[in-house]
């Protein structure tokens, strides 16, 4: 759906410093050359299968289905991938691409730490240097992931500027890339930033929807009625939606982090509360004030705590192809606990936002309907923070 100028409708583009222009042009050329190269695709397929553990399971959540008494619920288990989240799908693709381009160093931003861990993992595997930028606030919320990245040989830089969260980590990674381009690839973790990143990341994540489609056809002989995924920048969501965009009968539902509620300032629900702007290399929806100053957003989930959304989501929203609903901290925490008790699956707090909306939607639909919820990551990293949210004084 990318048009020749790297746009999705009017969204996307390349709003970046001149210093980086040749780098993104070179990246686009390399990607267009390699994406159909048999050696590249064979090597990537092998890594996804042998290293990341794909295909991930499509699991029929029988107890949850019975409990909610409505649509049949399947869970797409991206939490079972190596490193515990969908992030590895994109990272293996980009790291391989970077290596073929002759780059020896990966830099990345991370929020919850899942993309940072995945990038550090790929760098270790491919013998590349790795530096991960993480908001200082997030290094505290996700201390275990910081240790994990260091264990894997990456340097973790705690970003103290601004709100010291994901947006500041992205800004700092961009600044670092402008100072060192020749040997460095910026391994962006979501479907955001300047073209060609939203397209490259979407293509690497679209394996999720391709698998959902073939697995569900095998199990049920038909397409789902709805696919649900959480949306921060939106990479697991676009990955879950992409192969269904032309199947108009399939509802595509993105679940945004409402934080303490979309009627408060402490929210990160960009599509629901934001407006069109230009930031981090792209035209899309952003949480901002009337003068275009980016808002300090909030969510309990470090991975969804971002004031923007990928440009393809902005486009899918505008044309009415995908729906975006806000889910509060409290609803997400309840869903985190619910899925743990009901199915014995601890979802990432990010993914719990999609589970929460699934709990609302399933009972509204008949028993003859089928919904798929993408569990984008596992929740081990969140246990200490959720315990604290519930008033238990534990630290990881």
């Amino acid at each position: 759906m990318t048009n020749p100028n790297g746009r999705f409708g009017s969204y996307g583009g390349q709003y970046i410093p001149e210093t980086l222009m040749n780098a993104v042009i070179e990246l686009e050329e390399a990607y267009n050359r390699l994406k159909t190269d048999p050696d590249f695709t064979r090597e990537l397929s092998r890594l996804l299968r042998e290293y990341a553990g794909r295909p991930s399971l499509l699991y029929y959540a029988e107890k949850m289905t019975a409990d909610l008494g409505g649509a049949k619920i399947y869970l797409k288990r991206e939490d079972l991938n190596h490193t515990g989240a969908h992030k590895i799908n994109n990272v293996l693709g980009q790291a391989l691409l970077a290596k073929k381009m002759g780059k020896t160093r990966l830099i990345a931003e991370t929020g919850a730490g899942q993309h940072g861990v995945a990038t550090a993992t790929a760098a270790a595997l491919m013998g590349m240097e790795c530096v991960v930028f993480m908001g200082e606030e997030d290094t505290k919320r996700q201390a275990l992931n910081v240790y994990r990245m260091r264990l894997l040989g990456a340097e973790v830089v705690a970003v103290k500027t601004g709100t010291a969260t994901l947006k500041d980590a992205v800004s700092e990674a961009m600044r670092e890339w402008t100072s060192r381009i020749a040997d460095t690839h910026y391994c962006l973790g979501s479907v955001m930033g300047p073209h060609p990143f939203p397209t490259i990341v979407r293509d690497f994540q679209s394996v999720i929807s391709k698998e959902i489609k073939s697995q569900l056809l095998e199990k049920e002989g038909r397409l789902p009625d709805a696919v649900l995924a959480c949306v921060g920048g939106g990479s697991n969501a676009i990955g879950s939606f992409y192969d269904f965009i032309d199947d108009k009968s399939v509802r595509l539902i993105g679940c945004e982090a409402a934080g303490r509620g979309i009627d408060t300032a402490e929210t990160a629900a960009t599509v629901n509360t934001g407006s069109v702007g230009i930031f981090h290399g792209m035209k899309s929806y952003f949480c901002q004030d009337e003068y275009g100053q980016i808002a300090p957003v909030y969510s309990i989930s470090a991975g969804l705590d971002y004031p923007g959304v990928g440009p393809e989501h902005a486009y899918l929203h505008d044309i009415g192809r995908a729906e975006y609903y806000p889910v509060t901290d409290e609803e997400a925490v309840c869903a985190f606990e619910y899925l743990s008790r009901t199915e014995g699956i601890i979802p990432a707090i990010e993914s719990a936002h999609a589970v929460a909306y699934g709990r609302k939607l399933a009972p509204e639909l008949g028993r003859d309907k089928i919904i798929v919820i993408t569990v984008s990551g596992r929740g081990d990293k969140d246990c200490a923070a959720i315990a604290r949210y519930r008033g238990e004084d534990i630290y990881d």
């Binding site: 100028n5 583009g13 390349q14 709003y15 970046i16 410093p17 001149e18 210093t19 980086l20 222009m21 040749n22 780098a23 500027t161 601004g162 947006k167 500041d168 800004s171 961009m174 600044r175 402008t178 100072s179 060192r180 381009i181 407006s275 069109v276 702007g277 230009i278 930031f279 981090h280 290399g281 035209k283 952003f286 901002q288 009337e290 003068y291 275009g292 100053q293 980016i294």
Partner: protein, 258 residues
């Protein structure tokens, strides 16, 4: 009204940058007058942005101080309007695309024309995206100033041929900020710019000392100094204007015989 070209008509141009509203607009106004009085040929006025991705720590700090102080785009238009009663040097804004976009491009450039802003520099608006604002800038007679970087290479000619006002040549990789030395070989880039552009070329990023200013000014038509000026506001706050005046005088003197 003056035009940008006049800034380059008395020898090599010295172009200081300061962030509007750091620490408050009254101090900004006083500093602009001091800079003009002491030989600044053109002054860059930064409209602060919450997340300035092309800036190093010094200018990031100034942006945040200014925003905390409650400065807005409208208040800055008011400041320029007031300055234009007695300040005649060319003035250009430096800000980020979202500041212009959220204000409304036509409304933004129309206000620029009204208050007497000669040009606008947007470090996150490369050649490929300039159509976003260029028609509005043209309609209101405001130059949309292009940047060229050490990595521009095959892009230099195209950017230079369509350049308006002056060309901003970025001296080094990375973000704004003081550098001990500038190691990039800019001679080839400058030659390519001169072969293609009909506007002057000023070099910025990393320049703070009179020696650096001399070295860079000998290559191009002027030098731009940002972080070193902004550091004076960081250090002296409301007392910065006199310091800015003295610094501008020293820097202008260093390049005046070239």
């Amino acid at each position: 009204m003056t035009d940008i070209y006049s800034a380059f008509s008395h020898g090599k141009a010295f172009i200081p940058f300061l962030t509007c509203g750091d620490p408050d607009l009254a101090t900004t106004a006083e500093a602009v007058r001091e800079a003009a009085k002491n030989g600044a040929d053109l002054i860059e006025l930064g409209i602060p942005f919450s997340d300035p991705t092309a800036e190093g720590p010094v200018i990031q700090g100034a942006n945040l101080r200014a925003l905390r102080g409650g400065v807005t785009t409208d208040k800055i238009f008011g400041l320029v309007s007031d300055l234009r009663r007695d300040v005649s040097v060319p003035l250009v804004f430096m800000t980020y695309s979202n500041v212009v976009f959220s204000y409304g491009a036509d409304r933004f450039f129309s206000r620029c024309e009204e208050v007497g802003i000669n040009g606008v520099i947007l470090p996150d608006l490369p050649f490929e995206e300039k159509e976003e604002f260029s028609p509005f800038a043209k309609a209101h007679g405001v130059s949309l100033i292009s940047l060229i970087a050490p990595t521009s290479q095959n892009r230099v000619a195209a950017i230079a041929q369509e350049a308006e006002g002056f060309l901003y040549l970025v001296s080094s990789l990375g973000v704004t900020g003081v550098r001990k030395e500038i190691t990039t070989d800019l001679t080839g880039t400058v030659a390519s710019i001169k072969a293609n552009a009909s506007v002057p070329c000023a070099i910025g990023f990393g320049i703070s000392t009179p020696e650096q200013a001399r070295a860079m000014a000998s290559l191009a038509d002027g030098v731009i100094v940002g972080s070193a000026v902004v550091r004076l506001f960081e250090k002296y706050g409301k007392d910065a204007p006199k310091q800015v005046g003295a610094y501008v005088a020293e820097m202008k003197r260093a390049i005046s015989d070239l």
